[in-house]
Amino acid sequence: MEFKDYYQILSVPPDADAKAIKTAYRKLARKYHPDMNPDAGAEDKFKEVAEAYEVLKDTERRAEYDELRKYGGDPRSGSGFEPPPGWQSGGGGGGGFSSAGGRHFEGDFSDFFNSMFSGGGGESRSRRSGMRGQDAEIEMPIFLEESVTETTKLVEYLIPVIENGQMKEVKKSLKVKIPQGVQDGERIRLKGQGGSGHGDGENGDLYLHIRLVPHPLFDVEGHNLVVTVPLAPWEAALGTKVTVPTLSGKINLTIAPNSQAGQRLRIKGKGLATKSGRGDLFALLKVVMPPSASSKATELWQSLSEEADFDPRAQWGNE
């Protein structure tokens, strides 16, 4: 077992007073709290910091830790750390203490912490009496096409379970009927599909965090969709009919003469599903130049430029 140098974790000297420890904890907790810092590894770092503070903020527990530190906490010793024979925590142990990170991460302290402060004082609260299993949350990617009707998805996830006193992860899979009209960011609760309860405790819940998968053609704006429609300059000038893709087949769209780039045309009822109906699809017009022009085409552009009375930079003024 690895010895944890809680002073080093909080970056304080071993003779730091309670105020310095609190300040160091708050600074690091703000930096690494998983609700504030989405980086990989931040949560583990926060747990480490919370564990160190859990021990060092409590005078009695800190004194016990200091004793242990003298006994075998020299990191230069190279070998793993073992508590002294017959070691039993005096006042700091047992489950059920309230901690800075304890409520959230209860039972999630290191082996080192558990062997120092949980042993001998009876079983932890979770094992002593029934305790509800942990809730879990997983991302659920849904294609736009799937969101417009009820769809059945196979959900596979890892869930922590305690077997013979050891925490391990078990793969679970279940089929879920996702209702039509789910929105990006929405959370769906599946009762009892989270972590297993301990003793008489109920299972936790599973939350599916809906994520609409980015589509190669459509952008999502609430319940509406936007499709960008490229037009040749003469199509925008003269008007045309274009075939526009929707989530369910294609439709013909009439482009009026003298259409502008950036103009949005509304196609009713072809957007995403809502609980009660469908949003709209917007065709966003974009004028595209041909990559190269033949000499004949250049001539035509030339005569157009001579004919057309149009200054695209009129808004700039004359300066």
């Binding site: 703000r30 919370a50 800075a100 089929k175 209702p179 769906i188 599946l190």
Partner: protein
């Protein structure tokens, strides 16, 4: 097939999260989460997204040892940040579609 639920009652929150009713009232009074139904505290029902923020608020309150006013501010900023990130991604994507050919 598994039963889907889109809400959590106060009673369930107290049981599942070991929150006290007083704590939930505190969170609601600071505008961090809003019940979607229920007149009396015991009848309050929250949508699952509110529960996500409610939990976050309770964790920040206890882990960072900050008061509820500060927690409410942090949550509001986190929500604004999340919305702006989403909007930014959307605008970037549209711009890309508009500029590329």
């Amino acid at each position: 097939m598994t039963e889907l639920v889109f809400s959590v009652s106060v009673e369930e929150l107290c049981q599942c999260e070991e929150f006290s009713q007083q704590l939930i009232v505190e969170v609601v009074e600071h505008g961090i989460a809003h019940p979607m139904a229920g007149q009396e505290v015991v009848d309050w029902v929250f949508d699952t997204t509110s529960v996500h923020w409610l939990r976050k608020a309770v964790r920040l309150h206890s882990d960072l040892e900050i008061d509820w006013v500060a927690v409410a501010m942090v949550i509001e900023l986190l929500q604004k940040n999340e919305a702006l990130e989403k909007q930014n991604k959307h605008i970037e994507q549209q711009l890309k579609r508009f500029l590329e050919y």
